[in-house]
């Protein structure tokens, strides 16, 4: 009885702490309301107007604005619900014609605050995921996720609803880890109907659920397969049913998968294709110097704008199918492992790995997609020093690769400070975690033992703490600083307006090295796990 009471008290103070973290983040997000927002802001505003003022049958046909609805139906429903509140606050927000490019304070505050409130979903996901962790690891995880600078930059400045969607992913993972596969599958299906980009992890889910949930003898297994199938189908029917009923499913699909877009986004996400393109450019310049006649591709060097199809001078052209196959190939070892030994404890790692593969080899990848694996990896990171080391580097690289999103002068100090704060917090908490556990145990014994012996042991822990990041990692991070200084100060100073794409290219290339490292590290981790 007593113990139960104590436990209840503990959980209440813990959720209080979680809300405290959330409150601090919310204050910062509230202060960020007037900051720069990208066209995504108008995209989401237009979707509010579109869902509010048009009947469902026209949602995926509307062309009032270039920002057509290209998310799956659940997201449209979500906007539809939001639009009611928007209508209460200012009817002009949801007016499909008068609302175009509407920029008044009401719409800015409404949309910004809707992001802050929808982050509660992330909060619940994280809470569920960390419920059974020991209190230190839990706190650490909260720091990493709730105060994630990437999420703040993308959601509260650039403007998107990633926190909410990642919350769904966390929920799904938390159910899988508890062994409640049906619920896990359900939430993943829901997530897919909110944003289809999350489908990259679908093979992992499929293999894992098939093996862990359904592979239970013939009859029972078949029953389970059916129930899982029914759950997923119900979710998809709820999302796509109305459109299927109206015979619009083809239109919906074509809006959701605009393959007319280029291999890379306007700013190249730091993935494998950056190397490919750079190699192509390098080769073409080299061969031209040799006197060969190389046809210059039509797309400009900085190209990759929406609608640009990639063209290479020397290397073979990349098609969406090719990228798809590459992602699957990269996923294969993970799928194999998941098939051989489906463990709930490793699910988070596998899912994160799947998103990493999607990020590295996918078609038209946004730099924002790195959040899809950085956030779930936070769960893995709190478990061991090895993982912490990897996460430390990855989180910094991923956050830094988001810098070009906020290119205006006004936000410069904010993004730098966000990254700096996160690095310091990670450094503090990881080293605290790695030193505190043995230290705490030792202190108890040290009380009775001689001082000299405890000092010797202490040295070891101190040394262990020091190598949170090795010299290669340090050099790499200092290189990051160098790239930033070059891009911001030296390049404009030395070269003026010449070669304006070089700083961005450097950021992409340099961060791509970190991403590739993270991919290899994760792959190795998955391969050696038993």
């Amino acid at each position: 009885m007593e113990g139960q009471k104590f436990q209840m008290h503990e959980t209440s103070t813990n959720s209080q702490l979680l809300f405290w973290f959330f409150g601090i983040a919310a204050c910062i997000k509230l202060l960020l309301v007037p900051s720069y927002h990208s066209t995504d802001f108008e995209v989401h505003r237009h979707w509010l107007a579109l869902t509010h003022s048009l009947p469902l049958t026209q949602w995926y046909f509307d062309e009032t604005s270039p920002w057509t609805l290209d998310y799956p139906p659940f997201f449209a429903y979500y906007e539809y619900i939001l639009s009611f509140f928007a209508h209460l606050i200012d009817p002009q927000i949801v007016d499909i014609h008068r609302g175009l490019n509407y920029k008044s304070n009401t719409v800015v505050y409404f949309q910004r605050i809707s992001v802050i409130v929808s982050d509660l979903c992330l909060l619940y996901g994280v809470y569920r995921l960390t419920k059974n962790l020991e209190s230190r690891k839990r706190t650490l995880m909260w720091v990493l996720v709730v105060w994630s600078p990437g999420l703040i930059m993308v959601d509260s400045m650039h403007f998107q609803y990633n926190g909410f969607l990642l919350g769904l992913l966390m929920l799904s993972i938390s159910y899988l880890q508890e062994g409640r596969d049906l619920m896990g599958g359900f939430f993943f299906a829901v997530l897919l109907c909110f944003k289809h980009l999350f489908a990259v992890a679908a093979p992992v889910y499929f293999v894992y659920l098939l093996r862990h949930y359904c592979w239970k003898g013939f009859l029972r297994g078949f029953g389970r397969l059916t129930s899982m199938g029914v759950v997923v189908m119900v979710v998809f029917a709820a999302a796509y049913g109305p459109f299927l009923y109206h015979g619009q499913i083809q239109q919906v699909i074509s809006r959701m998968f605009p393959f007319g877009r280029g291999l890379c986004h306007a700013y190249w996400a730091p993935n494998f294709w950056v190397f490919y393109i750079t190699l192509d450019k390098g080769l073409s310049i080299f061969l031209k110097k040799l006197g060969l006649d190389i046809q210059a591709p039509a797309a400009s060097f900085t190209g990759g704008l929406v609608g640009d199809s990639p063209s290479f001078a020397v290397l073979p052209k990349i098609t969406p199918i090719a990228t798809f196959i590459m992602v699957l190939l990269a996923l294969f070892p993970c799928l194999f492992k998941a098939w051989k030994n489906p463990q709930p404890q490793l699910v988070a790692r596998w899912i994160a790995y799947a998103y990493t593969c999607g990020f590295l080899f996918g078609w038209h990848v946004h730099e924002k997609a790195s959040l899809h694996f950085v956030i779930p990896l936070a769960l893995v990171a709190v478990h061991s020093l090895e993982d912490a080391r990897h996460y430390f580097l990855l989180a910094i690289v991923s956050c830094y690769s988001l810098f070009p999103l906020l290119y205006e002068v006004q936000e410069y100090p904010i993004k730098v400070l966000l990254l700096l704060l996160h690095s310091i917090l990670m450094w503090h908490s990881f080293s605290a975690q790695t030193t505190k556990d043995p230290a705490a145990k030792m202190a108890v014994s040290a009380k009775r033992e001689k001082r000299s012996s405890s000092l010797g042991a202490l040295d070891a822990t101190v040394e262990k703490e020091r190598i949170l990041i090795g010299w290669i990692g340090k050099c790499y991070l200092f290189g990051l600083l160098g790239i930033e200084i070059w891009g911001q100060f030296l390049h404009p100073y030395l070269l003026g307006d010449k070669l304006p794409f070089v700083p961005l290219l450097l950021v992409s290339l340099y961060c791509a090295f970190g991403m590739i490292y993270s991919w290899i590290w994760q792959l190795r981790c998955i391969m050696i796990s038993t």
Binding site: I24, L31, P34, Y109, I424, K436
Partner: protein, 522 residues
């Protein structure tokens, strides 16, 4: 060095046992410096985000606001010779935001003006730049404040914290971190400097540096720093009685008081001479500057400030009943009389804590009773109060609440309501940090229940007034009804607070002497 490190780790381990369930462990375990670093970066982040919001007088010609004043001073100082900075001439119209702060502010404007000129020459061009507002110009101006904060206020606070906790090594680390957060994330200071637009961080930072120097017994350094602060904003004189009395009290305890006093005097004179050097060649130039610094022509109060004169003017029309001359005298007398007790205490028994209390008391008596006080002057008493945050706890929270509230109308005018709300919430979140509450005992004795009921009542009133002020238009007959009510509430709280701190300061001298005696006996 090595040994020290080991000792520290040992202590860490001891703490680890004691604070096993401390939810701040992950962040404070490395000691004061690293938790300071963390909070400082967070503080800078908060400041940078606040500076996204509008400044005072944005897009509001012809007079604009403090932002334009600061920009205009940069324009004047980089384009005119030093001698003409304070002189009315064809190039320098003193009626349009003439320079009315001491020379150090002018030098600071000069340096910042050069910075602005490098990136955007138009923003500080003579004449043509009046009312200049641009995207880049705003960023540059904001960055000058941000960098001043980072370069002066933050290091000063670090110095203070290191000195203050040098002898309190047994204190819980999360308490130290909490204290740092209370000083650095001061919503009033952030809103005025990074929202409204001023450079209080410089003069207050110099004052904190001076306080830290006093606490570490480097009295000469303290005098220099305080003189610098005084020469950046004459308002720093609010602290002068405390510094004077504490240093004097310390000198009197020495073997040779006259020597000590004259050393301090020489340092003060020297600092003043260096700062005022360009104006020292004739009496006229000095008087010119001095005349600019003393705004006696403005009347005893402006707008609605929660001090004695303004609040009582609801009943007694001071401005009509008395001449400015006699008001000056009366306000001076009232100020002196109110800070005298704390001065006497410090001269008789100078102590570290007593000094901090004296700073609160003397600055509050200036705020409440002196001539020409502005709403923003609440920052001055708030600073030493935040340095005493671990001592004051409950009363400090209330003080912060009312200090913010007293600036509410001003911040509303500046369109800073959202940062006001966000910083208010942030402050209270930090104040009630889940682990930092263990020894926060807010008056539980029965004698104080009456007072606590009154305080709760006032608190609720103030929350209600916030909402009323925003939603309801006051009746036409009394257009400033809400302002007057806010002022009345804040004033009554300030009076309570200052009586409390005065009492605390005097209580200090008794146990202090007792302890001393015990020590001697031992």
């Amino acid at each position: 060095m090595e040994k020290k490190g080991k000792k520290k780790v040992l202590k860490d381990m001891a703490d680890a046992v004691n604070e096993d369930d401390d939810s701040c462990w992950w962040f404070v375990h490395k000691g004061i410096e690293s938790s300071f670093l963390c909070i400082a970066v967070f503080g800078l982040l908060v400041r940078a985000t606040v500076s996204l919001h509008p400044y005072s007088g944005a897009g509001n010609p012809p007079k604009f606001g403090d932002y334009e004043a600061q920009r205009h001073w940069m324009e004047i100082t980089i384009n005119l010779p030093v001698k003409e900075w304070y002189r009315n001439s064809t190039n320098n119209d003193l009626k349009y935001w003439g320079l009315d702060y001491p020379p150090l502010t002018a030098y600071q404007s000069y340096i910042h003006g050069i910075f602005l000129r490098y990136f955007e020459p138009d923003s500080v061009a003579l004449f043509t730049s009046r009312g200049y507002e641009s995207y880049l110009g705003k960023q540059l101006m904001r960055w000058t404040v941000l960098s001043s904060d980072a370069l002066i206020f933050f290091p000063a606070v670090l110095y203070f914290v290191l000195v203050y906790y040098r002898n309190h090594s047994s204190r819980r680390k999360s308490d130290v971190a909490w204290h740092i957060a209370m000083i650095l994330i001061n919503p009033c200071l952030i809103l005025v400097d990074h929202g409204h637009f001023q450079y209080n961080c410089i003069s207050l930072g110099l004052t904190v540096g001076a306080i830290a120097a006093v606490l570490s017994h480097k009295d000469l350094v303290a005098s220099v720093l305080f003189c610098l602060s005084l020469n950046h904003k004459q308002m720093s004189a609010y602290f002068a009685p405390a510094f004077f009395s504490h240093l004097l009290g310390k000198c009197l305890k020495h073997k040779n008081p006259v020597l000590e006093v004259s050393k301090l005097g020489l340092v003060v004179l020297g600092t003043f001479t260096i700062i005022w050097w360009p104006y020292l060649n004739s009496r006229d130039t000095v008087m010119e500057v001095l005349f600019r610094l003393a705004p006696f022509e403005r009347g005893i109060y402006e707008d609605y400030v929660a001090n004695f004169w303004c609040t009582t003017s609801i009943l007694i029309k001071w401005k009509r009943l008395f001449t400015t001359q006699s008001l000056k005298f009366v306000s001076l007398l009232a100020t002196v009389l109110t800070f005298l007790p704390s001065m006497v205490q410090q001269i008789m028994a100078p102590s570290r804590k007593g000094f901090l209390y004296a700073l609160v008391n003397s600055s509050f008596s200036f705020y409440l009773f002196s001539f020409q006080v502005h709403e923003k002057s609440i920052l001055l008493p708030l600073l030493p109060a935040s340095l005493l945050a671990t001592e004051l706890r409950g009363p400090f929270e209330l003080l912060m609440h009312y200090a913010l509230f007293s600036m509410f109308p001003l911040l509303c005018r500046d369109k800073l309501i959202v940062p006001y709300v966000a910083l208010y919430a942030l402050f209270f979140l930090l104040y009630f940090t889940p682990s930092g509450r263990k020894d926060a005992k807010i008056h539980n004795s029965t004698t104080l229940t009456c007072l606590s009921i009154l305080l709760t009542f006032l608190y609720l009133c103030s929350l209600l007034l916030h909402i009323l002020y925003l939603i309801i238009h006051p009746p036409k007959k009394y257009p400033f009804l809400f302002e007057a009510m806010i002022m009345l509430l804040c004033f009554s709280h300030f009076i309570l607070f200052v009586s409390y701190t005065n009492a605390q300061q005097w209580m200090l001298s008794r146990p202090y002497t007792l302890k001393d005696k015990e020590k001697k006996l031992n």
